[in-house]
Amino acid sequence: MVIKMEDFEPKIVGFLCNWCSYAGADLAGTSRIQYPPNVRVIKVMCSGSVDSVYILRALLEGADGVFIGGCHPGDCHYLDGNYKARRKAVLMNSILDTLGLEKERIWIRWVSASEGQKFADTIKEMTEAIKKLGPNPIAKYWNI
């Protein structure tokens, strides 16, 4: 099955923190702000709790992108979870760089509970960026 580029609808797995980004996504919904349905949301208690294995499993199983949403720096419900998420992202980027894998498929963004519009805009922006990148090449590997 060959998917034509213009028909390609990326699958994005989104990990949203309970306190900010998930509430932000909720606000986007209740405010009836339209955003691409490409993101599949998984609620987590904190962006800092998103272990590398969540991200890598999504990508290795064929997701085209992974989105991590957390509170703005300084606003973490658990004080420093998002600062730790930030360090984890830096480490993940370094490892993916060394391995020559596409770190562009992983987005981490700060979205507060009041930023429904920002959430919708960010998902739109990410969906378009992943569409440009094309399908995740890892998806076709059955031997990993």
């Binding site: 272990d51 590398s52 294995v53 890598l56 499993r57 290795l60 064929g62 957390g70 720096p73 300084g74 420093d80 998002n82 600062y83 730790k84 930030r86 360090r87 984890k88 992202a89 830096v90 480490l91 993940m92 370094s94 490892i95 760089d97 060394t98 391995l99 020559g100 894998l101 981490i108 963004r109 700060w110 090449p137 890892i138 998806a139 076709k140 590997y141 059955w142 031997n143 990993i144």
Partner: protein, 372 residues
């Protein structure tokens, strides 16, 4: 604290050090000693915990590292520390691992006296037990320190590219770089603990340290060169094609994780039932691509493990040694470790007070992350 010289009798380096350690044990200042000793079959040396000086028949220079000595010390001290001090004779890489384990709250060295040994490198277990040269592996490796013999053909990859074979954070160092180990060894005293332990032990004063300083400089230069050449060569394993090929032989035994001193989790996520699915889910996975290899998730395991341990990776190479499929893991772990540690400006195992990068943060760092 002045450094001392241990005179080697009859050119027998191993026995002279053994007698020195016997004296330490007899002095009763240490309750027990953890040291490499040959098993009765002589096939290999293992760390043994010895309390009776008559039973001590150690070989601290045996060029083999079957298991992580640091993990053993973690095992001994994790529940509580012993009532009396334990002396541990340990290689440079294993001290680094021990320092990381202390930082990870997995070992307690309050009652441990670290006796570091200058490391000439180690051979893979099978090379050690079936050593092809006429001499014993220990004699062979000791000779490389004075004659110009290239031991690299036998050394483990990790040892060829070792960052620092000279012990740091040790209370006492048994030094052989820059000395003739058939004649004398350096006993360097680095701490109060070490000083106290050596009181009353008969040692000579050091005369000249120029030779050693030069030898240390040379060995660090050589190893650094090896390491950067190695990283240059294998940093090229890039892209999913190359990675899939690299890990093709992985049988998902998780040995690399089990022997790793840094992988300390009581139960690894990958050994848990989280990856056990219902039959129909397996079929569902097959249907997604039409087929998939079983056991699966080997690349997920390796890439996740890298994320979890690589900042603290001290480069002992036990992962590679334990691989039954002979996957040359260090070719990937070394460049990844180097790059990740550079980003956080962190050198694992060097400073016991320095926090591990993944547990600390600064408010105003990496501000580009999360914004674009």
């Amino acid at each position: 604290m002045t450094d001392k010289i241990l005179k080697v009798k009859n050119g027998d380096t191993v026995t002279s050090v053994n007698n020195f350690l016997k004296d330490l044990l007899k002095s009763k200042k240490i309750q027990a000693l953890l040291v490499m000793q040959e098993v009765p079959s002589k096939a290999i040396s293992f760390p043994v915990l010895i309390s009776d000086s008559d039973k001590l028949n150690s070989n601290v220079f045996a060029p083999v590292l079957p298991v992580s000595t640091a993990s053993i010390i973690s095992k001994i001290t994790k529940i509580d520390s012993s009532s009396g001090p334990i002396g541990v004779v340990i290689r440079a890489c294993q001290i680094r691992a021990l320092v990381e384990l202390v930082k990870l709250n997995q070992a307690n060295i309050d009652n441990i006296i670290i006796i570091g040994v200058d490391c000439l490198g180690t051979f893979p277990v099978n090379v050690y037990s079936d050593f092809p040269e006429k001499e014993s592996p220990t004699d062979f490796i000791l000779n490389t320190s004075k004659k110009n013999i290239d031991a690299n053909k036998y050394l483990r990859t990790a040892c060829q590219n070792c960052k620092v074979p000279i012990p740091s954070n040790a209370d006492i160092v048994i030094g052989l770089f820059g000395l003739d180990p058939k004649k004398e060894l350096l006993i360097q005293i680095n701490s109060e603990k070490g000083q106290k332990l050596l009181e009353g032990i008969n040692l000579e004063a050091v005369k000249d340290t120029k030779n050693r300083e030069k030898a240390l400089k040379d060995i660090l230069l050589e190893k650094n060169q090896n390491r950067s050449d190695f990283i240059k060569e294998f940093g090229k394993i890039k892209g999913i094609d190359a990675l899939a090929k690299f890990f093709d032989k992985c049988i998902n035994c998780h040995n690399c994780m089990k022997v790793c001193p840094i992988c300390y989790c009581k139960e690894c996520l990958f050994d848990s039932s989280i990856f056990n699915l219902e039959a129909n889910k397996y079929i569902g996975k097959a249907e997604k691509k039409g087929l998939f290899k079983m056991p699966n998730d080997s690349l997920l395991f390796h890439t996740t493990r890298m994320n979890h341990m690589v900042v603290s990776c001290i480069g002992c190479g036990l992962c590679e040694q334990a691989c039954p499929s002979d996957i040359t893991l260090m070719e990937i772990i070394t460049p990844i470790g180097e790059n990740a540690q550079k980003i956080f400006d962190y050198s694992p195992g060097s400073d016991i007070e320095e926090k591990i990068p993944m547990v600390i943060y600064k408010e105003d760092e990496y501000q580009e992350v999360g914004e674009k």
